[in-house]
């Protein structure tokens, strides 16, 4: 009984530590995206790390983890942008809901293909939603050219590759750090 209480307390601590680590990682990701990625050339500025990481969190972990990650990256993005509060985080929430619907009712498994399809759908929704939200809420000067395929398709392609890279990295990490006592010796 006492051992169970101690175990529960330790699990709570580990849980809080993981959440804190996730928040720090989210802040670092946002800084990296705004400060470095967007300034790079050769199409690297098309990469959207916050969005791809959100889709990855949904596909690789769970909806709960994805919601937490959404708040962790959405809030810094909201405060660092000059749009009405709620545009960024609301858009990401809508994308997450659509992805969850697709995952549950159409793409039923969580394979690499699922991740890539969800990434493509998410990037398309992000571009369309951001354009629409920006236009409706700020009333700024936006043209239909901002939505042209010449601009959106390269972004989809670049984030496609990013998602694939993230998957490979995750698989390599899991493989490398697998607990030894769980390996089967032939």
């Amino acid at each position: 009984m006492v051992a169970e209480i101690h175990r529960a307390a330790r699990d709570d601590k580990i849980f809080m530590f993981k959440r804190l680590l996730a928040i720090i990682l989210a802040l670092a990701l946002v800084c990296f995206q705004l400060g470095l990625i967007d300034q790079l050339g050769y199409g690297l500025s098309w990469l959207n790390l916050p969005l791809v990481s959100l889709v990855f969190a949904l596909n690789a972990f769970s909806l709960n983890a994805a919601w937490f990650w959404l708040l962790a990256i959405g809030l810094p993005l909201e405060y660092l942008s000059f749009h009405p509060f709620g545009l960024m985080i609301g858009l990401l929430a809508v994308i997450l809901l659509v992805d969850q619907l697709l995952l549950k009712h159409w793409l039923t498994d969580r394979s690499a293909y699922t991740l890539l399809i969800l990434t493509a759908v998410s990037v398309l929704l992000y571009e369309l939603g951001f354009w629409l939200g920006d236009y409706l809420l700020t009333g700024g000067y936006l043209t239909i050219l901002d939505l042209s395929w010449n601009i959106i398709l390269p972004k989809v392609g670049a984030n496609f590759l990013l998602a694939a890279g993230l998957l490979i990295f995750n698989n390599a990490l899991n493989h490398r750090f697998r607990p030894v006592f769980l390996e089967q010796h032939r």
């Binding site: 705004l34 050769y42 660092l80 509060f85 920006d134 050219l145 601009i151």
Partner: protein, 274 residues
């Protein structure tokens, strides 16, 4: 088993709804201004890192590759322009001296001159629907440095590169002059000081609109701010005319203006506060 699955899905829906409610409440509190401490905390935490990453990023270096012959040609053109500008500067200096002495004679009251606030560029416009145009900046000065919307932003050389958009406590958005949201009252340095409205065009150039058809323009003429825009002093260079568009049946003609400064690699800018 079915009962367990049902409980799990109900739990998922509950968490989804709770998260959406939290997001909605955050939006309400932010609108009411109750979350300004969180805003300041996040900006305080992220701004040094983002600013350092921006300053050290190789922005612009991949986009300017060209051949040696082209560069030599450009260099020679710049040398010729420098010589011409030196001559113009000498003339302007003598005119300025004469102007000041005449004003003193007439006891003319001069309006208070603008002072410059320097600001570091923190990042460019990832968080924008027009991010493909690459024509918005965020700087690290805001309301605490008396910045307001519409003020002119100048480069180190003194040419206008944009205007201030939204302003927060410690940061501000800058629309570059190639951004459609930046509109300035401009005048052409010709005999009649033709005036028009300079507005960004698709993130690439500046378009000078509403020029009467009767006005004579020529390629190469300098376009400056006319002073008719509130909070933008007169006489600040914007660019040079590179193309003139005239329609026979139209009331107005317009001109394409090329900015004087390179807008790709901006690290430090100045905001003119009148």
């Amino acid at each position: 088993m079915q009962l367990i699955n049902k409980k799990k899905s109900v739990l998922h829906y509950k968490k989804t709804i709770i998260t959406l409610v939290v997001v909605f409440l955050l939006a309400i509190f932010s609108w009411a201004g109750w979350l300004s401490f969180a805003n300041q905390a996040i900006v305080w935490l992220t701004r040094p890192v983002v600013g350092w990453l921006y300053q050290t990023s190789p922005s612009g270096s991949y986009n300017n590759q060209t051949s040696r012959a082209v560069l030599l040609g450009l260099l020679k053109n710049k040398d010729d322009q420098l010589t011409k500008l030196a001559v113009d500067e000498a003339k302007l200096n003598s005119l300025q001296t004469e102007n000041e002495s005449l004003r003193q004679y007439l006891k003319f009251n001069q309006s208070q001159s603008a002072h410059l606030v320097l600001a570091n560029v923190i990042y460019r416009d990832f968080l924008s629907a027009t991010s493909w145009q690459n024509n918005e900046l965020v700087i690290d000065q805001g309301k605490n440095a008396s910045l307001v919307t519409g003020q002119a932003v100048v480069s180190q050389a003194g040419a206008i590169i944009g205007c201030v958009g939204q302003v927060r406590d410690a940061s501000a958005q800058v629309y570059l002059i190639t951004n459609q949201n930046c509109r300035l009252a401009a005048a052409i340095n010709n005999e009649t000081q033709t005036s028009g409205i300079a507005q960004g065009d698709l993130g690439l150039t500046v378009k000078l609109n509403f020029i009467p058809q009767t006005e004579k323009l020529s390629v190469g003429q300098l376009v400056v701010s006319s002073g008719l825009t509130a909070s933008v002093p007169a006489g600040l260079p914007i660019g040079r005319i590179v193309q003139i568009n005239q329609e026979n049946n139209g009331l107005w003609q317009d001109a394409i203006v090329e900015p004087l400064d390179n807008l790709d690699r901006l690290l430090v800018v100045g905001v003119l506060i009148k």
